[in-house]
């Protein structure tokens, strides 16, 4: 189980998906695990929330009206370069995947997925975040 509290600080998780059910579910699951979770169905509003206070982890849908997941990824990385972004999508194309990896996406997950899959990916993302916090000057 992911330890979102304990010796760590409390991690902030943002969920962006135009279908409300995704945000609601993830809010429930990761809230129970101790994360501060915000979820938005409008990417524009999610970007505003990011600008107001950065998030450690961003889980975003790929295909949305107006602003897509790649855009959310770019903006999240601009606001907080340490942020780990996970893209969840029902339609993955290798082109978009390549673009996303070039822009620093942490992982791609195909919808529908088991909660455990996402928990594991988020665990790895947290490890990454912790390492960055421990050895910032190593590079």
């Amino acid at each position: 189980m992911t330890e979102a509290t304990g010796n760590d600080r409390i991690w902030r998780l943002l969920v962006v998906d135009d279908e409300a059910i995704v945000g609601k579910r993830l809010q429930q699951v990761f809230g129970k695990m101790g994360f501060v979770v915000e979820s938005h169905t409008s990417p524009a509003v999610a970007l505003e929330a990011m600008a107001a206070q950065p998030f450690d982890i961003v889980v975003t849908d790929l295909k949305m009206e107006d602003i897509d997941g790649i855009e959310v990824l770019s903006r999240a990385k601009t606001i907080n370069p340490a942020a780990q972004v996970i893209i969840i999508t029902g339609y993955a194309h290798s082109e978009t995947e390549n673009e996303a990896f070039a822009k620093g996406v942490f992982a791609f997950i195909a919808k529908p997925f088991r909660l455990d899959e996402l928990k594991q990916v988020i665990n790895r993302a947290l490890d990454e975040l912790r390492q960055q916090a421990v050895v910032p000057s190593a590079e």
Binding site: K24, K111, L115
Partner: protein, 863 residues
């Protein structure tokens, strides 16, 4: 979409694909048969996938549901086409059945299924299929009406279909469509909505009844016993909106008319007021707040016999300020419950322990000067309470206990805290008026500390097993080792078992959670858990060794953890968590689609309803198509000569005289095997090999000549023609096999035995279907043999049904090794029971043979 389906059904591409001029006619048929099997398996996989998503262990969205449903529809269409190609268009009658089912799925997705159905349904006739047209509250009432432990007042539902007919008959449709569009747009200001809202409200209030409704009401009321000769009676007419009670409380948002004379005109008048309240200012405000982007909602009404209650009130099955306390709260007053829910008079409060003997922990009895009572003509009236009763508790000790017991039962049934309205009639009978999820507000910030708080509990199992149904449940461990253990299963127990079994259905309403050491999230039991929302973990390693029966544990089937003791923090979390997954729109949509897709009604090909018209779901169509495809192939198998000429049917060379011909569709026989007289060692078909292995097991194939008496002989001669009713008499035994499949038709003497099995690495695809019929002896002996076979199959956890000398058994969703083991047992059973009916002279022998078989003493037959 429908045009696309018609195209699919014609499927010229499929015909040309199968039209291989190089094939012999028999080979062509095999090819076509394989095609049916492949397509059917694909469709069944989609159905299993969809079912698994209901567990709550997945993140999915509407897009997924819609896409999968489309793919499934296309695949079922392919199956029909493939069957028709195989059989020369024998089953075109399936097309209209398929199209009707498909339109139903489309109506569910488009949320229009609340428009199709009867205007009125008796409450006790409502089934899950009707949920969309009776509304949430009535759905719960109907469930309770079927529950022998709960008493609800009799009555009927005026459905959402009647509502839509009323809208159409009064030319309100255009306004309604416009209104719903505006409701779906959160940017529309409330003021802009108001004029239209009022027009609809007035329109419904003044509406004329849709055709047939008044006559229907008169007839329905007469059925309840109001046809003039009987005492006149009164009804309570309550709203039941589509979403009401399911997700959101809607408490007090809609209109209720109490004590309405049971006369069609008066009921219709009350109904109009209830229906119009869908457009009441209050209800609209609530809807916009709760469903900001959802414009559609229709309303049904529940009309129940009015109870002249002595006392009435409400139960909360958890204490709102201490949700994990294991106490519940009962509030009540003299007279009708309106006094309690409206908060208009002082009330008695009782805090009662939820465990037997349901002791009253605390009570405060108010001075209840007034109560609300039924008025003589109609409606309610406030009266003063007789002075002797004023300061007396409105419920006696025994009634408090009974009410608590029922409330806990309902909480266990719905697996969540409940808000229950109750009434005690003049003669002391306890009625439940309503039952809905109790929503408590989330204690802010507390949730974040949950992982820390959970650290203090001893964890019995962590990160082990799979979620079959999400949820949290706490209670004493009840270990189930055999079906008889289920008989005394207590309300509120946690069922723990080595293996999963669909038999657990009998206690699922009482179990707060289920844990098994072996099992898969796609088993029949898992499906049932999802239907009944029982939190369930399967495949939890070694859990039995860590538990003692009776110890209290808490199962968190969200994070896959099992704790020792009662984890109050998790129970509080559950009670205060505002999102009940099972009632979110996506889950309800998926659940309704699966109802129309995945249930299997056509179980037995020998039953009369095993016809195209008997298909009620896609699964039925697939089952029918499979059975007909097999029948077609067996038909071909009859023409032994031509088959053997082309070496398409090959004799098996076994050390026992089983006389089996094999038709290998695909990789079922090793390529280097002799063309005829194929030895056992050359069989590569996994399920067939396992069955043969069982048949060849030492002593299973007994050689003793059975002493068939004159009576038996006569009986068999008389029975032979009717025994051949399976239509599959072929004079020999045929096995149709491939690497992972077998369909084995046996005819030994005068009985027919069919085993249809799929066995592969993918456990969800694995199944065994077993059918046994007939015999050479009289009906009594044959029935004894059926009973013996049923008892043995039952012991191996098959789903068994018997009728006379017919046995039908099903099993599935097992891992490959277990499938092979079970098929081996099937093989032994086939051999062992071959001629046994002759020996079954009395009932006691049946038990003896069952015992012998189960303990591996196959030689008993030779004694």
């Amino acid at each position: 979409m429908l045009n696309r389906l018609k195209e699919l059904l014609n499927l010229p591409w499929l015909q040309s694909a199968a039209d291989a001029s190089t094939c012999s006619p028999a080979e062509l048929i095999f090819k076509r048969f394989r095609r049916v099997l492949q397509v059917n398996n694909r469709a069944l996989t989609i159905i299993a996938d969809l079912g698994e998503k209901l567990s709550g262990d997945y993140i999915f969205d509407q897009q997924y549901i819609i896409r999968s449903t489309e793919t499934l529809t296309e695949t079922v269409a392919e199956s029909l086409a493939a069957l028709n190609i195989l059989t020369g268009n024998k089953y075109q009658e399936l097309d209209p059945v398929f199209q009707k089912l498909t339109s139903r799925l489309q109506a569910i997705i488009a949320r229009r299924e609340d428009r199709h159905g009867p205007q009125l349904i008796a409450l006790d006739k409502v089934t899950t299929i009707d949920w969309a047209i009776v509304g949430g509250k009535n759905a719960h009432l109907a469930e309770m009406a079927h529950d022998p432990q709960i008493l609800v007042a009799d009555g009927f539902v005026i459905t959402t279909c009647a509502y839509h007919e009323l809208i159409d008959a009064n030319n309100l449709r255009e306004d309604l469509d416009r209104f719903e569009l505006m409701m779906a747009d959160p940017t529309v200001a409330a003021a802009d909505l108001d004029a239209l809202r009022q027009r609809l409200e007035r329109g419904v209030l003044a509406a004329e009844p849709p055709p047939g409704l008044l006559d229907g009401l008169t007839a329905t009321i007469a059925e309840m016993g109001g046809d003039g000769d009987d005492e006149p009676f009164f009804l309570a007419v309550r709203s039941s909106a589509q979403e009401e009670d399911m997700d959101f409380s809607f408490a007090g948002q809609f209109h209720t008319e109490l004590n309405v004379a049971a006369v069609a005109d008066a009921v219709f008048d009350a109904y109009r007021k209830v229906a119009a309240s869908l457009f009441g200012a209050k209800a609209i405000r609530y809807r916009r707040q709760m469903f900001p982007e959802d414009g559609q909602m229709s309303i049904a009404a529940g009309c129940q016999r009015m109870i002249d209650s002595r006392a009435a009130g409400v139960v909360y099955t958890v204490e709102p300020d201490a949700p994990a306390s294991d106490h519940l709260v009962i509030v009540g007053a003299w007279g009708q419950g309106e006094a309690v829910v409206e908060g208009s008079t002082p009330t008695d409060t009782f805090i009662v322990a939820k465990q037997a003997p349901w002791e009253v922990v605390e009570q405060s009895v108010a001075d209840k000067a007034n109560g609300i009572y039924l008025a003589d003509s109609a409606g309610l009236v406030e009266k003063s309470v007789p002075s002797a009763l004023r300061s007396k508790p409105c419920l006696e000790q025994q009634q408090l206990q009974e009410l608590t017991r029922q409330a806990v039962h309902l909480e266990n049934y719905y697996k969540r805290p409940q808000d229950i309205e109750w009434a005690v009639a003049a003669d002391g009978t306890l009625f439940i008026l309503q039952c809905r999820s109790l929503l408590l507000s989330e204690p802010s910030g507390e949730q974040r500390g949950l992982p820390k708080l959970l650290d203090q509990y001893q964890v019995l199992s962590d990160d082990s097993g799979r979620v079959a149904q999400q949820g949290i449940g706490s209670g004493p461990v009840v270990v189930i080792n055999s079906p008889t253990d289920l008989e005394n299963f207590p309300d509120g127990g946690v069922l723990v078992s080595r293996r999963d079994s669909s038999r657990f259905i009998t206690v699922m309403h009482r179990a707060v959670a289920i844990v098994t050491e072996v099992g898969t999230p796609v088993s029949h039991m898992a499906t049932l858990c999802r239907e009944l929302r029982v939190p369930c973990l399967v495949g939890v390693d070694n859990i039995l060794s860590k538990l003692t029966p009776g110890e209290v544990i808490t199962v968190d089937a969200e994070d896959r953890r099992i704790y020792h003791g009662r984890v109050t923090e998790l129970l509080t979390y559950q009670a205060t968590n505002s999102m009940n997954l099972a009632v979110s729109y996506e889950f309800r949509l998926l659940r309704r689609l699966l109802q129309a897709v995945s249930r299997l009604y056509l179980v037995d090909p020998l039953m009369q309803d095993f016809t195209p018209a008997g298909c009620k779901t896609y699964h039925d169509i697939l089952r029918f198509s499979h059975e007909m495809a097999v029948a077609q192939l067996v038909d071909v198998g009859r023409d032994e000569k031509s088959l053997r000429k082309h070496h398409l049917a090959r004799h098996l060379d076994l050390p026992i005289p089983a006389g089996i011909m094999v038709i290998d569709l695909d990789d079922g026989i090793a390529p280097d095997a002799p063309v005829d007289q194929v030895p056992f060692t050359a069989i590569t078909s996994l399920p067939f090999r396992a069955i043969l292995q069982g048949m060849l097991f030492p002593e299973v194939w007994h050689r003793k000549t059975m002493p068939v008496g004159m009576k038996d002989l006569m009986s068999s001669m008389l029975n032979a023609p009717s025994d051949a009713l399976s239509g599959q008499y072929s004079g020999h035994n045929i096995a149709i096999i491939s690497k992972e499949y077998v369909n084995l038709c046996f005819r030994f003497g005068y009985h027919f035995n069919i085993i249809d099995a799929h066995c592969s690495e993918r456990e969800r695809d694995n199944h065994i279907y077993f059918r046994f019929l007939g015999g050479a002896t009289d009906m009594t002996k044959r029935s004894r043999r059926s009973r013996m076979i049923a008892a043995i199959l039952d012991a191996f956890e098959f789903n068994v049904s018997t009728r006379g000398d017919l046995v039908i058994a099903r099993a599935g969703n097992m891992v490959q090794s277990e499938m092979e083991r079970t098929l081996d047992i099937m093989g032994r059973l086939v051999g062992f029971t071959r001629q046994l009916d002759v020996c079954l002279d009395n009932d006691a022998i049946v038990d003896q043979y069952v015992e012998a078989f189960l303990s591996g003493d196959y030689g008993i037959v030779n004694l």
